[in-house]
Structures are given as C-alpha cells and as structure tokens.
Symmetry: C2
Subunit: 174 residues, 2 copies
Amino acid sequence: MYLYNIEMDKRPSDTVIRAWTRLMRAQQLALGSIEGALKAAGLPPLVWYDVLLEVERAGPDGLRPYELERAMLLAQYNLSRLIDRIEAAGYVERKLCTDDGRGQRVVMTDAGKVIRRQMWPVYARAIECAVGDRLSEEEAEILGDLLGRLIGGQDDLTIPKTASNTVRARELAQ
Amino acid sequence: MYLYNIEMDKRPSDTVIRAWTRLMRAQQLALGSIEGALKAAGLPPLVWYDVLLEVERAGPDGLRPYELERAMLLAQYNLSRLIDRIEAAGYVERKLCTDDGRGQRVVMTDAGKVIRRQMWPVYARAIECAVGDRLSEEEAEILGDLLGRLIGGQDDLTIPKTASNTVRARELAQ
DNA sequence: GACAGTTAGATGCAATTGCATTAAACAACA
DNA sequence: TGTTGTTTAATGCAATTGCATCTAACTGTC
C-alpha cells in the first residue's frame, strides 16, 4: 500500500518540468512565427499545408477523410469543416467514393498544387529560422530523437504516422 | 548575387525538418493528454492553471493584466476575456489600480488558491506520463537545453520569462 | 432478407480565438 | 493648458473549435 502510493503519485522532477515547459513554449513560439509568416505572405494557415501535402501525396485518387483524420491527429468534425473551407477555396475537391457509399475521396486540384508549392518556401524559411539556425545538425538530430520518444507509444494511431506530414514535404517540394 | 541567394533561400535539412515535425507533434499530443486529464477530472483547462499560478506568485497585490500578457505570451484581447471567465468562476478578482487609472490589478481569491492546488496533481501526473516516464533524467535535461535554444532570442519578451510558469509550479504546489 | 452494431461524415449550437477598433488614462511637450 | 502620441484594457463581430448528435451506409449474424 505504501509502495503502491509512491508509484502512483510519482511527481515529475524539476528537470522534467523544465523540459515540459519549454516544449510548450518552443512549440508555441515556433508555430506562431510560421503562422505569422504565412499570413504576412497572404497565404493560408499551416494546417492547410498539411492537408494539401497529404492529399497530394495520395495521388490522383486522393484519400478518404478518415485517413486524413488519422494522419493529422485532427478531430473528425474539425476536419470535416476544414475540408469545406479548403474546397471552397478551390484547392481540393470531394469526389464520391465508388466502393463506399458513405464516404468520399478528397482529391487535389491544380490550384491546390500551385498554392502548396507557393507555401513551401515560406514554410521552409520559418523552419530554418526556428530550428535550423539555432541548432547544429547533430543537435537537431538529438532533439528529433528525444521528441520521437515522447511521441512513440502515446497513441496507437500515431506511431505509424511518426514520419508523417512535413517530413515528406522535402521530397515533394521542388 | 549568387551567394546572396544561397543564403537567403537556405532550406532546412531533413534532420531539421524532422525535429520541427516532431516538436509540433509531441506538443500536440502532450497538450492533448493533459487537457483531457483535466477535463476528465472536472477541472478547468490548462491556461487557467498558468494564469492562477502567475497571479498567486505575484502575491497579495496581484499583477497587471499586461504583465500577465507578457509572461504568458497571450494576445491582449484574448487574455482580457480569459480573465473575464476566470473571474466569473470566482478564482481571481479585478481590483482597481491606485497608481494607474487605466489599469487594474488581478488578484487571487481563496477559491482560486484551492482550485490551483487541486489542479496540480493532475497536471503533474500528466507531465510525468508524457515526459518523465519516457526519458531518463539526463535525457530530459538535454531536451530542456535544446528546447531552450529554440526559445532564446526568438522574442525579447520571452527571454526573461524562460524559466516561467510551470517551472515554478513545483515550489508552490504542495 | 431482417436486425443489431459499427463506421463515415455532416451539422446545430455553444465556447473560444483572432482581428480591428474604441475608450480612457497617461506622457511629453509646445 | 492644449495638443499629440502612446499605453492599457475592453468589445463588436467574424472565423474557428469543441461537443453532442444525427443520418446514411456498411458489417456481421441469424
């Protein structure tokens, strides 16, 4: 009983708390700076990029919203409306899904490809500015490894998606 | 001209992109898990904790909203309404500021102290779960250092606040 | 095929956020 | 003092998010 409580109520060390705090802060600042850069350039917000990238990667047949949902860790109702907006802007299209009457396929439009390519340089510059300019290559690798440990095992769905989104941006972007 | 462009358009390496992506993802997951834990426990969201902590730390005279704003990297209009809500819940009080007719002082109530203390164990457990359980003490230290490098210099206002919020939570909690 | 259970996606509504603007108080200065 | 510019804080309004619920289509079982 005594030992049991010690285990259950184990409190984070100061070091752990510091890492936590800085994780929150660093992400907030980094995200803010990229969103600001995109807005300043008259471009859509960052989530749009992730969606567009995922959809473009999926090829001419696009993909199902629920696939997108899992790849992006986005709530279903949230994604549904996000697609509404992106579609309204003309960057993706919803096509009906032949093999599943409930569903649909989200596919890229030409305008979508264009805008995604326009966003990438701005995005890239912001990443470089927030991370690349501040860490050596070795440090960035260590940071990536450590953060990977925080991601892994948190949620079944996220594990296979670890290398997702932005990582593959490099391949597509130019 | 050629060299100039190379500098300006320097693109992030794959390693840097990976670190970036995982920063976003790790924070998203970690934040989500703590918010979920708080909600499940019937407690207010995480921002409330940060506000309450900052206000409690400020002592009996409280602090000015604009100080809070800077400490927390929160937009002014956003904070204004956040205080509205926390005040409506009875956890802080707005008192008028003797030395500045425009302003006010946000001070803690007893109920606020109680709720903050109730939130801490849940918060602490979530931090331990998201970070402490996944990294050794040494790794957490390295992670904190690297993240600190991402924070420093990004914004003048944030530098003096690096050790902010949650870090000091430990002292107050319990 | 009928029926219970599950999954995909949308939607009404409330809460929160972002943006632009406003009002009041202060500060500096002619 | 009157004028101009700045800082503090609030607020109207639109956009986004979160929650709960709903519909339609699928799956499996009998």
